[in-house]
Point group: D2
Chain length 366, copies 4
Amino acid sequence: MNFSLPGYTPPDFSTPRLSTAPTATFTPVRRHGVAPEGYHATTVFPEYFQLSPGQWVLAARSRMDCVVVLAEKELLVKEFRNLRQGDLVAVGRSENGEQGIYVHTQGFAGPDQLDDKFAFRSNRTRETSFSIDYDQLYQLLDHERDQGFIVWVLGPAVTFDHDAREAFSRLIKLGYVHALLAGNALATHDLEGSLFETALGQELYHKRAVADGHYHHLDTLNTIRRAGSIQAAIDQELITEGIMHSLVCSGVPYVLAGSIRDDGPLPEIFGDVYQAQDAMRRYTSQATTVIALATQLHTIAAGNMTPSYTLTPQGQVRPVYFYSVDMSEFAVNKLSDRGSLTAKSILTNAQDFMVTLLRGLRERAS
Amino acid sequence: MNFSLPGYTPPDFSTPRLSTAPTATFTPVRRHGVAPEGYHATTVFPEYFQLSPGQWVLAARSRMDCVVVLAEKELLVKEFRNLRQGDLVAVGRSENGEQGIYVHTQGFAGPDQLDDKFAFRSNRTRETSFSIDYDQLYQLLDHERDQGFIVWVLGPAVTFDHDAREAFSRLIKLGYVHALLAGNALATHDLEGSLFETALGQELYHKRAVADGHYHHLDTLNTIRRAGSIQAAIDQELITEGIMHSLVCSGVPYVLAGSIRDDGPLPEIFGDVYQAQDAMRRYTSQATTVIALATQLHTIAAGNMTPSYTLTPQGQVRPVYFYSVDMSEFAVNKLSDRGSLTAKSILTNAQDFMVTLLRGLRERAS
Amino acid sequence: MNFSLPGYTPPDFSTPRLSTAPTATFTPVRRHGVAPEGYHATTVFPEYFQLSPGQWVLAARSRMDCVVVLAEKELLVKEFRNLRQGDLVAVGRSENGEQGIYVHTQGFAGPDQLDDKFAFRSNRTRETSFSIDYDQLYQLLDHERDQGFIVWVLGPAVTFDHDAREAFSRLIKLGYVHALLAGNALATHDLEGSLFETALGQELYHKRAVADGHYHHLDTLNTIRRAGSIQAAIDQELITEGIMHSLVCSGVPYVLAGSIRDDGPLPEIFGDVYQAQDAMRRYTSQATTVIALATQLHTIAAGNMTPSYTLTPQGQVRPVYFYSVDMSEFAVNKLSDRGSLTAKSILTNAQDFMVTLLRGLRERAS
Amino acid sequence: MNFSLPGYTPPDFSTPRLSTAPTATFTPVRRHGVAPEGYHATTVFPEYFQLSPGQWVLAARSRMDCVVVLAEKELLVKEFRNLRQGDLVAVGRSENGEQGIYVHTQGFAGPDQLDDKFAFRSNRTRETSFSIDYDQLYQLLDHERDQGFIVWVLGPAVTFDHDAREAFSRLIKLGYVHALLAGNALATHDLEGSLFETALGQELYHKRAVADGHYHHLDTLNTIRRAGSIQAAIDQELITEGIMHSLVCSGVPYVLAGSIRDDGPLPEIFGDVYQAQDAMRRYTSQATTVIALATQLHTIAAGNMTPSYTLTPQGQVRPVYFYSVDMSEFAVNKLSDRGSLTAKSILTNAQDFMVTLLRGLRERAS
């Protein structure tokens, strides 16, 4: 079975309510980073703004909890901190056209079976059945590898396990990874794996403690800092395999966001978290599927900036799938509780997930 | 790589301490179910009792928290509730021979690499690497299928998932299951799967809710109760596939222990939990490997009654491996906290574990 | 502020649908323990059966997942295993009167503010605010102490903590406990506390390990078994304080249900879990409030047998409140997932809950 | 009972091993941010460096995973990223004097009962007894209020709960809080509480959803950004109560570290996480007690930068106590797994902890 995109039904702007709606109001920013009174905040759904009578424009490259700025040729969805004096911000908190703003929550609903098939369910637990979710994910990823943009969000657990680390490196090489969002820990543990074949001083496969192994973590950071960058360390053949190596050699972009937990850090890290957000959003705004594993911090961050829809190269509206994989009901349910897009969750160990995913994709291919 | 049994080094009874130790004292039970003052309680380790000078006898078929009764030809390890008036119970709380009792905690330790290879580690978390554990488990199970006795302890989660249910049914047919310990829920959910292709009224694979599906659970119980037994329901071709079907058709014994959560119950259930314990221990006392998944109640119960060693048919002392698989650190660490035998834990979803295990065993076979 | 009972609005049987409904059908049981085809299964809600035209009778002392038996003067709600040949069982799976059966799900809803105030919410997490829940619970328990029946369902965690164990003993003496449902572990750990001032061999307050302390657990069981009963051990002044002591001295009934995890067991334990269920239901069917802490097994068991309503001595229908207190979202949400009555959950440590509860009740009293 | 500081036994430098040890070697940094080969990495323990024969100098204001730089009059403990060209870094990975470096792990051990009383225990679970821990904590905080420096590390859960938010505000006013380390979320939720009496749009106490309440979070951020700072918002009487208000009015410093999850952010946030680390360390290096609640990110960050000892104003070495309070065994045990200082953990809800703590401190005071 192959995946096919669910259809999208745009709003019917000919209904009395919408055809008689006023145009949207835009108010200028007076002070950098501060929105005008009554600003409209975005959701994860497609939102349309009536710019002139009958001209309803969709805000592309959206995300939730931002404001909409009228630029010359398009609507920009901006974080508050990125507002500049004079920016024209949409105001109005009604969502059904009353103020020229229409939030379209049901665009993917309808008789379309494929939509139903991939319908998001909430409140999953460790006892939920996940067989169909795996099968659908295989189909989806095969589709997205060629026709979409798959963003991975990874916590460090994957780098601690020999098989999971290999599986993800393999997924990169097979083309299933179009961007990686992670932190200093994932990259550092992975690079330690290549330099020392350990993770935090323990052999990756055999898990035996190694003499002076507790220095490996810091030595890895110091080595890469001396080399100047991960790229440089690869060029110098210090790093010869692993996740970061696979990314660089396959030309897959990554964003490593800093956090207050970091040692080192690695040279490529974004020390400023808001610059990191901007860099991450560059990828989530292209994403057609996001898979987030074993990290609450990065998963929620990515969830916050991922809309429920995006535009295909042909300009069609299509859904963005968001998978979150974690061991804890609390973690996976947090996304929906916080108003992030409804996420499809799988409750399991990130290591098993990765190994199972690679196998499933390979079985389909063979 | 193939598994080979770690060697066992018996105690050296020629040391001054042990060669001069007194014989063990046995005191009669005065009242059913009550041990005499100063009784000796068993551990999970091999324990030797000096019955006459120089004659140190190992208590076979042991388990922890029981007392040792001197029978005509052997030492019996009995639960307090199974003591009968006149039973001769070993007394003495010293464990190094001072009272003729020697608890041998280091029998499997030593230079033997295989012992080290399978050394138990404690305090595992979701971030522990498990690659080597899976590989060792494949080796172990291949060995135990032919030369051991593999007891499974299962919570109901496995029956909720299409692939995991199939995987375990397949493991039964492939000979990797020699006994199953479970509760009313596992069997009832599995039988519902065969009768209705649902679990608690939801389609097993597609997870769609079915009309009147909430009746399936009770209808299953009522149907089997009407048939008289699971065996009878299979004979009447009411049940045609699934875990219970595979067990019965493969002649694999099972114990279904009752609990206060039960509906129904199924006819085969042990309503009396102490009879259930006796029935369970019949299998754990033969076990060479126990694998417990996704149930705290049954896992701890089985852990309590599983010793760390057993005798091969040739009379050699060998270790008993105990794997516990669960989503929660609290659950898997509870066994060791409570003094059960040190367990090897894997933190993951029982469904993924089952599917991964079957695949790994098959890859070895091919 | 004081608690006052929310009103109950009975169904309006004069509506066309109900006034033209047929009478309910009752079919005899042919075989002990097996319900007739098409039996009606109960829910947690008030259910009415039209016995003769215009005579709609409420099933009192209900619980979910049972069948309704027509007795001489009343409707009995029976577990399948308790059905006897000839019992007349209500059949019909329509719930809106079509088959003379009406399930009344909205009896406590409506404009009543008190109902809203105590409205149940689902999907609570560790980050939910619980201040109001505590305050409402203080009010509720003060009301129920005198005018209700408060059933506690306790896991052993409470007995491990010095302050929590004292707090619950105090609640018993203050009249806030009308029945206790628990297992062998709770009672045994508590009795060990009185005999040895330890829990599993560790000092209750100072948590220091005590020499030979691991024997305390088994010695406690053996001591009580020798005495013959907890009552006897109290009479002999072996047990002088603690939870079990407070229960016995205050004349508060308790049910100790056996499980396959049990050592011993204590003499009062119900070894047969279905007899235990019957004994437990004797109290849950009287309950007006149930508080379940730190035990999945007993909480789900109690939840299964607790209806959402009961009758006051004056014959009024009133709600039954069910609180579940646990550390894990998975545990507290399991009740609702399984179709048990909607539970009000508090995510916290049972020890802190108990200590906080006692303080709150005392502050109200002073 | 009152707390008294455990004694500290310095190393005996007259032993043959230490009296014949070489002086420590210091090697210059060649490149900013890169340590020389063979650098020595710090632990959480007191570490002494022999600068000239017989002159062993303790590194003050230490933390783990840093390097030691020889400055004019003292030893500086620096993060790698803060190394400057020419800095003289201690090299040597032996810890028992062989290279002039001595790591003193047993300074607080010994016959001292108070040390034992406050001994750290590992592997705590939700079933651990915490009565004595609370009592010791009351004593400790009373001591530290006047003679120590208490640093709090808080996740946002405390601000969601009416009583917990009040309790912590009260603790600030009573002098038990000397610095607060937190993130954008804690401050924003707390300020929303003051502006709107809601948390994420839900009434703080009654938990009722409020119309347009989902705008409160963003409106709060926008309001404070417009005001320019939290201080300014207080001066303008926009913010009149709550945690941030209490901190500002009591002159208690705080560090709000940014993360990639942030909306807004608030003006005071450190967008650069390494500047945030520096700001945090300014307080953890003074800390005598750290209490971290309900945040993995900030708890681990603070744990990484908190040593196990500090110097009193009189120059005495004393322990630093580190409490971590969380709902999850995984979270609280992560600190020790990662090599942070041994933490004393309490498994409970942060809200109950806060309320219980305030009550306990007040009872001691009265």
